[in-house]
Symmetry: D3
Subunit: 229 residues, 6 copies
């Protein structure tokens, strides 16, 4: 099910069934004082592993653990690749899969920054415009946002992410339960966008819990399973 | 020790000690009938984890599991990124680390294809030319090649890699023990370079064993530990 | 006030006062059966002319009447430039202004497509990261959306745009009052995204009126005047 | 007739007749002490509007008011885009038109700098090499130069341009009637090429008049009408 | 005097005198039925060798025998590099020379096509804008054109080039003395621009002679010697 | 036989026989205290001229005398072009030849630096992947290395190159017979790689002789003649 654990022969056999290949798109990004830098990697990896268990005919590509970052770019620990680099990587990977006969591809990103999402979308669109393939792309955070108990204005390293990480990798979650908000500069373009997130956190993590996390993760998994059909 | 498992605060503290950051550079590449597609990822990941245990002050960045491939590009299962993309990713990652104060960086690649190595080297050199930082780059395969018991002409998916994988991830190694050789076209530039590796394997895997693998891995680890000093 | 109507000498004198330069960013895009292709050009041009009348020390740069389009790209009449081209034009123009001593710049776009906005934002950010200048960027549509009487789900060529055009250029507005909606494909990346807008219109234009248009335009103008301070 | 004033439906109908689309290519460039920065925009816009009145089946695309500048680049008021950006914009626009079925395209540039002209030509040529379309490109200044009464050595912001602007937009023409000449540095490549135009004007504007301007404009219009046939 | 014939030590010594480095820019281009494809290489090479004999302190860089071609691109024998490639090569070479302390550089091109000249000029200008160096660039054909006895309308592979080659490399000049003219398509952009030169020759070669060639070459040499001062 | 000495008509005739075109790829690079900067140009030029004499149906393209350099980049006299530029030139030249019907191409490089070789290889491979043509690429140094009397560890400006130049252009070889070695920095990426070659020479030139040079050159020529078949 994990492409990196299959031999070429097993991969060939799997391709005969017209499988869906999911590419986990992680990130290495500062996530408040309490969450690990790999938060946006661990979340989609967990979700995708569960989805693959519940759906037939799904292959998981190796995780790309780097994305494009604007707000957190200058915050210690963020390892970003540029817009153009991210777009190029995704384009290359989709084309590599197509070269081997894959016709159904899904990219699930942990990070959901606007430019990051557009970089990936542009690569996907370029491929979708040229070839008759089925490409789906979203961030699991976009889905999580639809979960019923999410406090208003929750965002980066907030209630959702803290809860989900408490469920997925509790040993990596620090004791702090910070609270912060996105500081708007209106439409001003900020050179060092880290000023927009003075606390490094958007939302109140006070009520985060592993149980909420489990529910949110389950909510996301079910939604994706439904989507795959 | 793993950057993705550290919080931003832990990362900051670690940076104060002028740590060495090691970036594992994996690959997703066809590796004969018997080895998994992630062979070039699992090998450096294992080695680097061991190195980090034995050296102080080492941080491990998230693994980039994709590289540039020429020979195996068209062989099923290979997911390659282009020369330019690989060069760009590495350039971005080195610059991201430097932005946060890292001055010592090491990239260890599982894959050792010539173009792949040059793509990474070019990115490293560009950075080294401009900044006063310490960058080291090699493939663990280059070191493995110095191990005493390696049969002559061993290469891709051969004795070394089979033995090492039998030690690292035995459950992923198939029962086949193929034998093959690199088919030289002299200096002719081959459009589909997979013709150069008709059996998908270079070397004879007959005598591969977990014990050899353990020894080779240990040999590599010691060499890198020595290198770090 | 309009840069293209000033001589070099008048421009120099104006620069001494540290003026705000506004770049109108238009678009040439299919806008339903009833609105002209220049809708996204005429709207910000009108707004900006009014803003410049009410604020001191504002210069208006020539309108760039082309933007990046995804959804309407294949719909007849859309003349698009690519993401990379748009980003390059904006970067060039900001740098040209800075070369002549301008330190305060505002870009107001009629079109508000996500990729289009990111292309411009990326160019602005690159400049803002490197230089100590004041750059503001938004679409007047983003502001219009805050107007009280906007029907829910109004969008491209809908109530807002129809009303505004009935106020600004009534002679260019056709008699049709179409109704349409955005057809979601979820997270699927659509090669020909025009499928997402089967009627070419998002929203119900039935209640559009020049009066509403006047009010919305006034609402936007006041907001921008307030923003400029 | 103006694409930005047509609806998509009107545009579609117009395309059925295999129309000629003219793209006015303006510029925002210092033009001596007396002419407005938009001189190279106003001239082709005027000409093209007249041509379209006298020819059937002509559509006018929105004016691109920015070009590439070498000599005037550093002179206050010049807003330039780079060679590569200009080439990209033109390529994009020609392709956008072709996507909608346009097969006859004409670009008329107000500015006539050598690099500027080559940037546009290279884009046109790339398209003409690949597709069977009819592309024409020139500067109206190239035609004006053939007018009988032009003083020898007339050029940038000189007799021709002053006269033409006195006819087209007299209210924007200042009272000065400067005289200047191109200062040759032979084949030396000058970093700041504004040294080549110390007075900012090439030629003697003393005898400029609206009547001359009218005649020159008429001369150009007739020539283009003849060209279109 | 020829850089390729000097050792690094001789080069270093020469640099101490602040020498002028001349880069011969040749071309490999169809030149009518009678002239060799290297005509645009042999001409500047000859001229530059003579200039270097008569001036002190001149170094000759190795000839780049490839340029950008539009008209002759599709004519058999033309080996062209693209606009961007040519620009990049020239930029690289100027920077390489500057890295070693060269501050005076001259590029003399045999080919004089407009785009070719602009490609080189753009590279030179970029360098001249950034560094305080002395760069001169021209085609020897531009100078030859000033020779008194040149028939009107002489151009590619015509009287000038035939005569010059009869002087420089008579054994390479065929017996034909063709006559041809540039076929103008007005401002139409021609996909295959070879249509513009149906005879492959512009001008009448009837009166070409080695003596004329000798005189023209001498005329050019003297002019360049004068230029260098 | 030399393309630059052929007319277009002679070239056309030659193409009818499906000739092999050899592109000599030289370099302008510091070569110790005793060898000229054009050493890597003179060597392949000599070899190729001899090969062409002994084989039928071979055309020699004009020499490109510039390559990519890492180690010698900062050593006085080296004129390098970048990796990307070199790749682009080669791609352009191969495509130009193919446009005129050439289907068999060979590139012989004097310089054999790893990145340089990969830059050319990548261009060749891109062409070979897309078209059914026959491309061969190597450095004559790679072949020379197989000559029987080469001292161990001989390299840049060492025994082989000194001997070969003593045979080819004895008048350009200085009296020094330096000795030096490659200073390894292991896997460290060195910003100024000239540190790796402190003496500017790799090997001992003491026993170099014109006779050895003649033998080595003959060895190479025969090998290439054999290769062409």
């Amino acid at each position: 099910m994990r492409i990196d654990e299959m031999t070429a022969i097993q991969f060939c056999k799997a391709v005969e069934n017209d499988p869906l290949v999911i590419i986990p798109l992680g990130a290495t990004e500062s996530h408040g004082p309490h969450l690990p830098l790999g938060t946006d990697t661990f979340q989609p990896e967990y979700i995708i592993a569960e989805v693959a268990k519940r759906c037939k005919n799904v292959l998981i590509a190796p995780t790309l653990p780097y994305g494009q970052h604007s707000t957190a770019r200058n915050v210690p620990g963020t390892m970003d690749i540029s817009f153009d680099t991210l777009r190029a990587v995704i384009w290359d990977l989709l084309n590599a899969l197509m070269r081997h006969g894959i016709r159904r591809m899904m990219i699930i990103s942990g990070h959901a920054g606007t430019s990051h999402m557009v970089a990936v979308t542009e690569a996907c669109r370029e491929v979708a415009e040229e070839y008759d393939v089925d490409i789906t792309f979203f961030s699991d955070f976009q889905i999580a946002d639809g979960y019923k108990d999410v406090p208003k204005g929750d965002g980066h390293a907030g209630f959702i992410e803290t809860s989900r990480m408490m469920h997925i990798r509790p040993e990596l979650v620090g004791a702090e339960r910070p609270k912060g908000s996105y500081k708007s500069f209106g439409f001003k373009v900020i050179g060092d966008a880290s000023e927009c997130m003075p606390e490094g956190v958007v939302g109140d993590t006070k009520n985060s819990s592993a149980e909420h996390g489990k529910n949110i993760n389950e909510f996301i998994i079910k939604e994706i399973v439904r989507m795959i059909g």
